[in-house]
Symmetry: C2
Subunit: 199 residues, 2 copies
């Protein structure tokens, strides 16, 4: 696929705030032309991974549920229904980040052997930003839930949505809360129940 | 859920480039405390929707395939496997954007009556940006594919991935191209084939 690849010539930092910076990028496109692009990025990235999204399932009364969180998100000025998620701390292994964030946001304590799958690096919005996340799929089975460990500015509610009707239940929750759903949770639910709607 | 909602007090523009700007937001959290957040946003948004992602299926030899695109994305300096996608033009209805972008990027011509589903607004990275997209699900059935209509800086390859083994085939394509997959395409594939892997 070398006919598709471009390359970056230089990156000029236009402004760096505490958490986010704006860059002006000069690049060579795949046809050899010099072009320009603008991008935003986090200032906090240490390794290759900005954050983790945790796809955690739990069984209750013999039925499988997905754990989703709801919180106020300032950039969109709305409540957002999302996978539990968080940023990878300095020098932290991303699986450990997922286990830590799951405990903080939902109260569920787990261990690396319950991790079913970890994804490669997944860009979140590659037209505008280099920010990325990894998915960590965890089966909690029938586990005891403890207290959340939220930071001062956090206030997060938890919901359990049935896996066999996730798409419809997610849409009902969104309407009930008059809020929005993160695109990765929406497309997961759409995929999971796709064959219920479309042949 | 009023106990979760905060509110924005004021937004100060820190820097506005041609396509992206950085904002410093002063907000009141759900406990009544004044706090600060930083966010990036597109300068190009006219209505409520930044862009569209097109989930387009097509039948070939009796089997259903998803159409994905691969292109070099400057912010991540890599090839990215994605849904066909694009920004909503000035005053354009987002379904028309999806139909236009699908034609430009893949050569497939379609009409609004082939649209099976449209999503509400879906934030792409709500911890950092207000950017959003809507999913548009289109069944192309057995349709004739014409020429792509790419802009000067664009060079996009198309792949057909079988729906019944999307997750594995996507992972194989990613490894073959040594590139990355957008998070919304990855989680769709994970959902679609989830029950193949996990009970």
């Amino acid at each position: 696929m070398s006919h598709l690849r471009g390359s970056i010539k230089k990156i000029d930092e236009a402004l760096s705030l505490k958490w986010i910076k704006l860059n002006k990028i000069t690049y060579i496109d795949c046809k050899g032309n010099e072009r320009f692009w603008e991008s935003a990025s986090r200032t906090t990235k240490k390794g290759d991974t900005d954050g983790v999204d945790i796809l955690a399932t739990v069984k209750k009364d013999g039925k499988k549920y997905l754990i989703v969180v709801v919180q106020y998100r300032v950039p969109v000025d709305n409540l957002v229904i999302e996978f539990p998620a968080g940023l990878v701390d300095n020098d932290e292994n991303f699986v450990n980040s997922a286990i830590r964030e799951l405990k903080e946001e939902t109260g569920y304590r787990t261990t690396p052997d319950k991790v079913l799958l970890t994804s490669p690096i997944l860009p979140l919005e590659c037209g505008m930003s280099c920010a990325n996340a990894r998915m960590v799929v965890i089966d909690l089975e029938e586990t005891i839930c403890e207290e959340q460990e939220l930071e001062g500015s956090e206030n997060i509610d938890i919901f359990y949505l049935p896996m066999d009707n996730l798409f419809n239940e997610l849409e009902e929750l969104r309407k009930k809360l008059n809020c929005v759903v993160s695109i990765q949770l929406y497309t997961f639910a759409l995929g999971l129940n796709f064959n219920n709607f479309f042949k």
